[in-house]
Symmetry: C2
Subunit: 236 residues, 2 copies
């Protein structure tokens, strides 16, 4: 069920055959290298860990289905638990809040890793541009439907939006630490923190805009516009 999506991501790259890599991976990795990290993980994991993954996915899948059918507010944890064949306690063991069931993704640690490996002199803004456009590409390719449903919820349900903002703020913090390191500053340098917060704040807005406008444009396009604006020094 949920595994197929995961497996598909692992073996995918439908455009370019996996075995014979036509491109010698210069600095522009093939479509969504981020996604590969994900699949690579549950290769040879213990039974316990695999079961956990399955439960997690079952909960998320049940949640998305229920919300699709009856809306966010009307969907209770009890219903989710029933449909996912677990107890309500278990749902809360996997997700701290109801919003998290919808929002949680696990790209963060990967992004940090990738950020650390960017060329030494690269300007922070360029690093972020690379990171975030790649992330968007990966998500858009990996789970396009979830992405839209999630955006819809972010626009419509204040609690979900608030929770997303909070997780973005956490991401911002983590990115700041690495950026500070890369530019030789204290880990909690105010300028770096404000810079990162500004970028992520603008991206949040871009994402909401995208959802409000019924996904007319590509999300990637909107994100690129964000970075263009920053590259112009944020002059209006």
């Amino acid at each position: 069920m949920p595994e197929n999506a995961r497996m598909a991501a692992r073996t995918k790259t439908p455009a370019a055959p996996a075995g014979s890599s036509a491109d010698p991976a210069d600095h522009q990795p093939p479509e969504g290298f981020l996604a590969e990290f994900l699949g690579a993980q549950n290769a040879q994991l213990g039974l316990r860990e695999r079961k956990k993954q399955a439960t997690r996915n079952a909960i998320r899948k049940a949640t998305y289905a229920l919300i699709e059918e009856q809306g966010y507010e009307a969907t209770t944890i009890e219903q989710i638990a029933r449909d996912a064949d677990v107890s309500p306690s278990t749902v809360f063991r996997y997700f701290a809040t109801k919003e998290d069931i919808v929002l949680t993704d696990e790209y963060d640690p990967i992004m940090l890793e990738v950020l650390r490996e960017r060329p030494a002199g690269e300007p922070p803004l360029s690093s972020l541009r690379f990171l975030l456009t790649e992330a968007v590409k990966a998500v858009a390719a990996h789970e396009p439907e979830e992405l839209k449903q999630r955006s819809r919820l972010i626009v419509e349900v204040p609690a979900v939006r608030a929770r997303m903002t909070e997780t973005m703020a956490q991401t911002s913090q983590a990115l700041s630490v690495v950026l500070a390191e890369r530019t030789g500053r204290e880990p909690d340098d105010l300028d770096v923190r404000m810079f990162t917060a500004a970028v992520l704040g603008a991206l949040r807005e871009a994402m909401i805009y995208w959802g409000e406008h019924e996904f007319e444009e590509d999300l990637l396009t909107v994100v690129l516009r964000t970075f263009d604006l920053f590259e112009r020094g944020l002059t209006l």
Copy 2:
């Protein structure tokens, strides 16, 4: 985390008469013109309205006192209601969420008014700089203790921080509309929205930084640093 899908329900805020600044009740010190608006309001209001103000203040006061003494989480609505001499129902009539009791301020409509009256050609960034530094000055002068306690809560209590972020996002939206108007764009122009979101995102970070560092610097100083960063084109 509780669901706060309501909000917006409250906020009546009288429509700030633009020219009628002839206030007979002038018991408020003239620091920061923003503060004046506030005092001017409950001058000659009906008994009903004055009672409402009193109730509102009683609730806030009780809340701050209880939190001071036993912490945010440990403070329940029931306790607040008891101390403020009202029923729990009434507390919720005045504040949509528990967080709002701590956060609510009514500067927003004033800021919009002031923004509209800024000189025509002024660059958006300068307008925002003026607005927000004035707002900070006003709050710092008007209720310095609340400001600190609030900042402490914002740093320590995720729910409060999330709620503040959400209200800042609303402010951002409102400011964007006016800024768009002033620069001759569509009301929901993406660039303007991203710009405003970036500025407010950075300010949020600055405020948290200020709280995390035990208020070593002036809040105003930190805010000015934010605008300086933007004026330098956000180059790190």
